[in-house]
């Protein structure tokens, strides 16, 4: 949205990085991103997972979600080495102004550049739903800092034509502190995208409020994990393979054990055969250095070409030959077809 060259790395990445750092320090288990749009933050969090076990994205625009949803699917390598901890990713279509029971009891809710897309009267509802109903342990809200706008070249009006408002720091903090009072949260304010030195006074380009619920307020029903969403619509859900899945755990365990057993056996065979070769080489007076691994299972065909696996055909074919020799009686010579000699030359025209 903003002029790309102004910040490096780009501002949206800085915002995401901010969330990642927060996740790293606070280690939430259930995280929900409101207004996830193309799911880029979710994709980031999927890698910087730390303790996250449930990752939920909500957006009102179902096309935007659908577009990139499959990028959240597990990678091939996630199946090769399942992670020790479970991870479920779900995407919902829904509005942040609706009360959805499923959304309660999260550890962290992020609203990155979301509230400025709401009408002011909706912000009221939003506060009530997020802080009053969802009551997550922590909320991260970022929104443009209107004071920064004069520094953006060529900017007239808002930064995006869908923005309904852009707040100054005071406006944002006033709203935030009001919310804190009302719902029992405390807030810290920071931001990303520092202004160049002379203008440092205007603050960050994106202001961020980090809200934490007061420990003593315990109105959150935490046992809602089994509840199915009622208002939101599930668009996508994927469960990552993990060792917490008993089947996977067993499978992995068994194959590890098998592999170890196999390598022990192989080691033993090599040792044993090494001795044998030593023996034979002594018999033939050969230098014992060249211990040939004479594994009788490794077959070579007569031509000794590179394909060391003998052609199945050839093996079978040999067997057949032997069989035939027992039943010599069968005449192998089939009569020749009555020789209507073909001549393609005449057909060529």
């Amino acid at each position: 949205m903003e002029t790309p060259s102004l910040f490096s790395p780009p501002l949206y990445m800085q915002r995401h990085q901010f969330v990642v750092e927060f996740v790293k320090s606070c280690d939430p288990r259930k995280v929900m991103d409101l207004g996830c749009a193309d799911c880029s933050l979710l994709r980031k969090l999927k890698f910087h997972r730390h303790g996250i076990e449930v990752l939920v994205g909500v957006d009102i625009d179902c096309a935007a979600i659908r577009q990139r949803a499959h990028a959240l699917a597990p990678l091939s390598s996630d199946y090769l080495q399942p992670s020790p901890r479970p991870l479920t990713i779900e995407l919902y279509q829904g509005s942040v102004t609706e009360r959805e029971p499923y959304t309660r009891g999260f550890d962290l809710v992020t609203c990155i550049e979301l509230i400025e897309h709401l009408e002011l009267w909706e912000v009221e509802r939003f506060s009530d739903v997020v802080f009053g109903y969802m009551t997550p342990c922590a909320v991260i809200i970022s929104t443009p800092n209107a004071e920064f706008n004069p520094l953006l070249p060529d900017l007239k009006g808002f930064r995006h034509n869908d923005h309904k408002f852009e707040w100054t720091r005071t406006e944002f903090q006033t709203w935030a502190l009001g919310v804190c009072r009302q719902y029992g949260y405390s807030a810290d304010f920071t931001g990303v995208g520092e202004a160049p030195d002379p203008d440092r006074g205007v603050g960050f380009c994106s202001q961020i409020g980090v809200f934490r619920r007061h420990a003593d307020v315990s109105n959150a029903p935490m046992n809602n994990t089994l509840q199915e969403p009622t208002v939101y619509r599930l668009l996508y859900k994927v469960v990552y393979p993990s060792l917490c899945d008993n089947n996977i755990f067993q499978r992995i365990l068994v194959s590890e054990v098998l592999y170890m057993a196999e390598s022990l056996k192989r080691q033993w065979l090599v040792d044993k055969q090494g001795k044998q070769t030593d023996f034979t080489s002594r018999v033939h007076g050969l230098p014992s250095g060249e211990a040939l691994l004479d594994d009788s299972r490794v077959e070579l065909n007569a031509e000794r070409n590179a394909i060391m696996l003998p052609d199945e055909n050839e093996v079978e074919e040999e067997d057949e030959v032997e069989k035939d020799e027992c039943e010599e009686g069968e005449s192998a010579l089939r009569p020749m077809k009555d020789g209507a000699e073909e001549d393609w030359e005449t057909e060529l025209g």
């Binding site: 730390h50 199946y79 098998l258 050969l286 070409n305 696996l309 089939r334 030359e345």
Partner: protein, 1056 residues
């Protein structure tokens, strides 16, 4: 393209007046003119991408408009009709006139136009003259255009209006700017284009493009890019004709599906903004054209009809049509992503279902003919006008739609939860874990939507991916523990050429090198110029902590390839961390482990029944997944629930001829018993031959020689006692020294037999180098293990003896080929897996009418060198040898060329074949007939037998030459070999040149016959014997000899 802009601007003023006259102001004719030049250039460049085939044809086509001279006097309609015939003549005349033109398609265009101009220019004679010369040079668009412009103006003025519509038309063609006649011109252009397009082979494209394209040319730099190579070529003339006028133009056209000839008078108003004729009529025209494209005659008749299935699933298109639009941004928007973004903002107008490449838009729905949308460029708040103009109505199965149907298909596979690995999709949830080997086999599918002779099909092949639980670093650690000294060498051997999959994305990379001097601690430069170490990069972006900071880096060098845009070329190296890369594919060590491979192949080699079951499973999964169905239905695609079942044929069994015995091959195409019981066609008596064996194999060697003596008689072989050379030990030097001294002291040795112990590539390679290059002598290496089992010794000895007979120059068996003076050539290429060394081409040509004597050559070529250089040398040598043997040259030459992918067919056709033909000119008055057949083994087509509702493997000789075959080629699928295990994979044969006039029946049967002649196997093989021989030869030379074998061996099958 940019250069074109400035002139356009200058011209604008000119145009404006014209516009006042009735031309749409927004489409300055001038612009169009320029467009032409540009387009022409594009053709050259862009063509290659889409359909290279048309290029050559273009000049001719272009020539067609010329007939204009005639039409002058005729009414528009008549003109159109007359066009084709005169076109021909014209073409000839032309060609003669300007040699240059044929070389440069674009030039051709220019000329065509100018000529046009000439005739009509009556009113403004002086002008005409000018124009004519200009176009011919062609090369410099700038000045030309300017000049051209001038003429138009006067002309316009002159043209009275309706009366001289014809004239105006012509003028319009050439000159363009003039609107009035512009219209007329259009019609002409169209007509001609339409007429000629079909033969060219791009039927669908030909007609409609004109108007839109012209527009396109004008404005954007994107002009050239797009899916429609052919269309564009056609366009130039049309575009000129003037977009606006197009609709009227259509009418006059030859077939005139929508015959609404608009006279100039009424035209101006209409033409201005409604370039496209009523959709329906256009659509009809399209369809008609497609139908007109006559299918190639490729069906044979010989053999018994048999019901077979194939892994194709019919797709029905429920949409009536797909609409193609051209999208123009004014002012121009260069950034593709910005274009995409703007179009995304207008989904309300276009609907959710779109396929857009930056300038061409496909929708399953019809918009207004021209739609204007507004967007704001966010970088500078510039208001951008987006003009979406319908250019074509395509039948829903049009070739142009296939690419985005395949995008839809990939999305469907994703929706089903399948993972993309490489190019195919796999299901990790059904993975088979082979714990013993720490690897997993993922079942999956190679899917693709194709348009074949039978229509639109989903081709599904069952595929398996072998993935390893170990990272490259794990494997390196194991190697390190096993062999510290040769660690780096071992790693190179193990990893180079391997495909790895990374932990942080789903991409696969081929390892081209290992960078030992780098480590994750090293920094690299990011796109924004900043530096970052690999450790930091992976931590920051993927939250991955690198555990081993001292590992080397894997290097992947992407193939240089240009993106569809033709601009970006990916170059440079990609460095990968061993710790974050998983190995794929079967480990080398495991390949040598017979039992392990059996474990594995059990899962990978699926029978026909399992194959079809998997396919049905996929179809079932699609049909029960609402999201997948929805995705398909967006484009109106509906996948049939049934696998294709159709009728094929089994070719007649062949008669195998030995020296005196002959017999019809059994249905299992196996004559291993017969060949050891009766005399081979010819045998070479072995008077002087030597056996080398280490002391510990003395006993086996003795037994083998004794057995040789017993079994030689029935085969008609005479075998004297060999020279026995017992070696002190089995070291490579001992073998080499001993053989070498023997060969030098006794120059008459006919054959060297080596009995070797263990599985030793180095020894094998040393022996072969010595006996094939340094001291040429046929040689036979025998692993002691193969002759260790007494109960099998007899049959093994028989086989070895047959092989020896071939190597020393004997002939085993043949089949009758009823063609006289025939030479059959087989060509195959061996690529080194590590790509480090050169590729090797094996070349084998028959020397006699029995097809029992073969002349073989090998050439090495650098990675990007064309195969043809070496090919010429080989062909000339083979022809000379043929002459020596037969005292005449072959009259017919059939070339089986293996190792050509679909993408290379055009190159072979346009480049290799002409070079081969040129080869024949070396000999005076020599013009043999030639048939060139491309042989493709690695294909995704499977054939099944189908009986009583069950799928099985089809019998040998099954041929399928319709429905799933290529629309543009004479091709067929033939399964020559007998399948004992797994599924029936036929070989695909494409005849791309055939002056020998072999009928489809001949092609099929000749090919089947050739599959009988591989002497190392007493049965049929998958590919024609010469190809198989060439393959063997190339493999031996590339893998073991690393140089060309001695020329003395060229007439013997020493490489068997």
């Amino acid at each position: 393209m940019d250069p074109s802009r400035p002139p356009g601007a200058t011209r604008m003023p000119w145009l404006q007046p014209a516009g006042g006259r009735g031309f749409p102001a927004d489409q300055p004719p001038v612009g169009r003119v320029r467009g032409l030049a540009v387009a022409a250039e594009e053709l050259d460049a862009g063509r290659g991408r889409g359909r290279a085939s048309e290029t050559p044809a273009l000049p001719y086509r272009r020539g067609i408009p010329l007939p204009a001279t005639e039409p002058r006097s005729l009414p528009p309609v008549g003109f159109a009709r007359g066009v084709p015939a005169p076109g021909e003549e014209q073409r000839l005349g032309r060609a003669r006139g300007f040699l240059l033109s044929s070389l440069l398609p674009p030039v051709g265009i220019g000329r065509g136009l100018s000529l046009f101009v000439e005739p009509p220019a009556e009113p403004a004679p002086p002008v005409k003259r000018e124009t004519v010369p200009l176009p011919a040079p062609e090369a410099t668009p700038g000045p030309q255009e300017v000049k051209r412009e001038e003429p138009p103006l006067p002309v316009q003025v002159d043209v009275p209006g309706p009366g001289s519509s014809l004239l105006s038309m012509m003028r319009g063609m050439g000159i363009e700017p003039a609107k009035t006649w512009g219209r007329g011109a259009v019609s002409v252009g169209r007509g001609s284009v339409g007429e000629f397009a079909p033969p060219v082979g791009s039927p669908s494209v030909a007609g409609e493009e004109t108007a839109p394209e012209g527009v396109m040319l004008r404005g954007t730099s994107f002009v050239g890019r797009g899916l429609i190579g052919a269309g564009r070529t056609a366009m130039p003339p049309v575009g000129f004709g003037r977009g606006p006028t197009v609709s009227p133009a259509l009418a006059p056209g030859p077939d005139a599906p929508s015959a609404i000839p608009v006279t100039p008078k009424d035209a101006p108003p209409v033409s201005a903004d409604v370039p496209v004729t009523p959709g329906s009529s256009q659509a009809k025209a399209e369809l008609k054209m497609e139908a007109a494209c006559e299918p190639r005659k490729k069906a044979g008749t010989k053999g018994n009809p048999v019901v077979i299935g194939s892994n194709y699933i019919p797709i029905h298109c429920k949409n009536e049509a797909v609409f193609q639009y051209h999208v123009a941004f004014t002012p121009n928007v260069e950034s593709l992503s910005m274009r995409f973004g703007m179009m995304r903002d207008h989904r309300s107008a276009t609907g959710e279902v779109v396929a857009f490449d930056g300038s061409i838009l496909y929708l399953p729905k019809r918009l207004e003919e021209v739609v204007h949308l507004k967007s704001e460029r966010r970088t500078d708040n510039q208001e951008i006008d987006i003009k979406i103009q319908m250019t074509k109505i395509l039948p829903p199965h049009s070739d142009l739609c296939i690419p985005f149907y395949n995008v839809v298909l990939r999305r469907v596979m994703k929706i089903l939860g399948l993972k993309l690995v490489g190019r195919n999709h796999y299901d990790p949830n059904s993975a088979v874990v082979l714990g013993k080997h720490r690897l997993q086999v993922w079942p999956g599918y190679a899917t693709c939507i194709k348009r074949t002779d039978g229509g639109l099909y989903l081709s599904v092949d069952v595929s398996h991916k072998v993935l390893r639980n170990d990272s490259v670093l794990d494997v390196m650690n194991v190697i390190y523990q096993q062999s510290r000294e040769s660690f780096q060498d071992e790693c190179t051997k193990e990893f180079i050429g391997a495909i790895v999959i990374t932990r942080y994305n789903n991409r696969t990379y081929r390892v081209d090198d290992i960078e030992w001097s780098k480590s994750p601690k090293d920094a690299f430069t990011m796109a924004d110029g900043s530096k970052m170490t690999f450790i930091d990069y992976y931590r920051k972006n993927y939250g991955i902590t690198i555990k081993e900071v001292d590992q080397p880096m894997l290097v992947h060098r992407p193939k240089e390839r240009s993106r569809p845009g033709g601009k970006q070329v990916i170059t440079g190296e990609i460095l990968l961390l061993p710790e974050l890369s998983f190995m794929t594919g079967i480990p080398e060590k495991m390949r040598k482990d017979f039992r392990a491979m059996k474990d594995l192949t059990m899962h990978i080699n699926v029978s026909a029944e399992q194959h079809t079951h998997s396919i049905k499973q996929l179809l079932q999964n699609i049909s029960t997944n609402p999201e997948a169905l929805h995705e398909l239905s967006r484009w109106g695609l509906e996948i049939s629930p049934e696998i294709l079942v159709t009728q094929g044929r089994t070719l007649p069994m062949e008669t195998i001829c030995l020296q005196s015995a002959s017999f019809i091959s059994s249905p299992s195409v196996d004559w291993s018993r017969e060949v050891v019981r009766d005399s081979s066609i010819s045998t070479i008596p072995l008077y002087c031959w030597a056996v080398f064996y280490p002391r510990r194999a003395a006993e086996q060697a003795e037994e083998l020689v004794a057995m040789f003596g017993k079994v030689a008689g029935p085969m008609g072989m005479r075998l004297d006692r060999p020279i026995r050379m017992e070696l002190r030990d089995d070291r490579t030097e001992t073998y080499v020294k001993s053989i070498h001294s023997q060969l030098t002291s006794e120059p008459n040795v006919q054959l060297v037999v080596c009995i070797i112990t263990g599985n030793r590539d180095d020894l094998y390679s040393a022996i072969k180098k010595l006996c094939c290059v340094q001291s040429p002598c046929p040689s036979q290496a025998i692993n002691v293990r193969t002759i260790a089992q007494p109960q099998k010794l007899r049959s093994i000895a028989q086989k070895i003896l047959l092989q020896i007979n071939c190597k020393v120059g004997g002939e085993l068996w043949t089949v009758s080929v009823p063609l006289k003076h025939l030479m059959v050539i087989g060509v195959d290429v061996h690529h080194d897996t590590s790509k480090k060394s050169r590729s090797v081409m094996g070349f084998v040509a028959s020397l006699n009418s029995l097809l029992t004597r073969w002349y073989s050559r090998v050439t090495f070529q650098m990675p990007h060198e064309e195969i043809i250089n070496g090919f010429r040398v080989c062909l000339l040598a083979a022809l000379q040898k043929y002459y020596e043997v037969n005292h005449s040259f072959p009259e017919k030459i059939v070339i089986y060329r293996d190792g050509v992918s679909d993408g290379q067919l055009k190159t072979v056709e346009l480049y290799e074949i002409p070079q081969i033909l040129k080869c024949f000119e070396t000999f005076p008055n020599y013009e043999p007939k030639m048939t060139f057949i491309v042989v493709q083994k690695r294909i995704n087509t499977t054939l099944y037998s189908y009986e009583g509702d069950r799928f099985g493997t089809p019998p040998p000789g099954t041929v399928l030459d319709h429905t799933v075959t290529n629309r543009d080629r004479v091709d067929f699928y033939l399964m020559a070999h007998s399948i004992r295990q797994g599924c029936g994979f036929p070989t695909h044969y494409i005849s791309i040149y055939n002056t020998a006039n072999l009928t489809p029946d001949h092609l099929q049967r000749l090919t089947f016959k050739m599959c009988h002649l591989y002497w190392n196997w007493p049965g049929t093989v998958r590919v024609p014997a010469p190809c198989k021989y060439a393959h063997k030869l190339a493999f031996l030379s590339g893998q073991y000899l690393h140089s060309e074998p001695a020329i003395q061996l060229a007439e013997k099958l020493f490489f068997l």
